[in-house]
Symmetry: C2
Amino acid sequence: MKEFVVAILGATGAVGREMMKVLEERNFPVSKLIPLASARSAGMKIPFKGGEVEVQAITEESFKGVDIVLGASPNKVAQQYADAIVKAGCVFIDNSSAFRMDPNVPLVVPEINPEDAYKHNGIISNPNCSTIITLVAINAINKLSEIVTVVASTYQATSGAGANGPKELAQEVKDIEAGNPVHPETFQYQIAYNLIPHIGSFLDNGYTTEEMKMQNEGRKIMHLPNLKVNCTCVRVPVFRSHSISVTLVTKEHLTIDAVKSAIANEKGCRLVDDPANKVYPMPLDTSDQDLVWVGRIREDLINPNGITLFCCGDQVRKGAATNAIQIAELFVK
Amino acid sequence: MKEFVVAILGATGAVGREMMKVLEERNFPVSKLIPLASARSAGMKIPFKGGEVEVQAITEESFKGVDIVLGASPNKVAQQYADAIVKAGCVFIDNSSAFRMDPNVPLVVPEINPEDAYKHNGIISNPNCSTIITLVAINAINKLSEIVTVVASTYQATSGAGANGPKELAQEVKDIEAGNPVHPETFQYQIAYNLIPHIGSFLDNGYTTEEMKMQNEGRKIMHLPNLKVNCTCVRVPVFRSHSISVTLVTKEHLTIDAVKSAIANEKGCRLVDDPANKVYPMPLDTSDQDLVWVGRIREDLINPNGITLFCCGDQVRKGAATNAIQIAELFVK
């Protein structure tokens, strides 16, 4: 089997580190792993496959001889090095939002639109975390009957803000316990014991950039150019998994049994729906694994073609690192 | 001014205690306050208006000479004593859900349907907490144009489960910090750093009793028998205020400016909506006060007559104690 030289752009962040863990776990055929980060992290050693790899400072020359670059950096860094990566002949699987809506860049969830990945021109974008989790949860329904509208309210974990998010939540809990004031830096306000209905930047239409991703990226990934999505994104004091309350409408009426059965058989999903026995998805249960858990599936009380559900998934894994490596795996086969 | 003999049924719980605080704060004309509770709490002293009142064990005889009984007890206790209360000639303002849907019992939010209170036959019900907060937030919109549908996802504080809810959250945080296992009793599972999409009991249609209250009670309070509400209730690790993400559709198209202006002028509401300056409702800010804060108001991206918003309110106060005392105040005037 062919082996690949893999570089990770932004290897020292939460997603970059998880990418290394997932590469190892899934036994991705890596001949050489090159962790790249800013100059200040150069020389840092990161454990990988029983040994250690040394972080290198990113330069335009970093990508020679590399097959796959996994991007786990902010937009600015992705934009700065994209040309060098593509010119070096690598496939750049980028977790930033910089290129997601570029018509020349496929935006891929392997369970949904793997075929798009092969049309790349050097860059493949990894979608937004809440979008990935929501779309994996509803993809089986879309196969039964086209989804027309989605109303989504998110419950997003602190991990979505990078490694500093969960740290800030933990520190605030300690500060409050000690009777000390809290010092929000990563989030706009105290997140411990609070909710913040503000993720991303506000646009003229009153939605945030994060909220619009669900519609914009959803349309592109599902090949549903007319899909309408109304999303409200809320940060919650949870460490790692994102949850989404979804009410969607399909073109035709579907029975709840058909929907449950389709979700149970859908790749990437786990049907967790036995309310009588207190079985439903919860973020605490979905951390550190790759499936999107789907439950609380029931008929909408408004639209006869509507379905309501609640889903949870690990934001760092399926919402970021695992999805990127699943894209890379499309090129192994 | 007439003064009233007021008894509190269930005076030692979170809502009962808050009722005493609110009676005092609002300077309700109380000639005598009688805190009633189970025999095991009898003799307990509770501070009131600079002095102390002694808890009495509830009996069928407790209500003689009482004008107003404020109910802060579970359904069973409310049902057990309702007849005795009504026979004694009291007005029973009951926070339990026992009588809310009884056609002979008004269900009242004073900002919305005060006129219903005067049609009572001895019992007036205080609505569900999330329902009160949501309805106060959207009532101004309903006055501009009739609301046809509501999709609501709640973010409900631990206080909704009574005094033991916030205690369990605080204890779990301590246990986790100390590396000890948690022992959920009040909630189905660990609530610290988690979400539980299960409040109330599950019905045959897959919704919980709590979720159906928003439609059933909403119809009765707003006099909208055809209102359709799709609600998902989720417990969140917040101590006290409930938050609700709402997408509603009205009969006619409304401009966002008209909606904001109506909410700003609505009794019981506070418009908190300046996203550019990070101004939006958050549960931490709305605790220990009586207004429902409304923000993130924007056009729905699905329905041209749709509005989306986020609201927060103190569950123990406006969601329970304050609303009950506001009902009592209707009889003072």
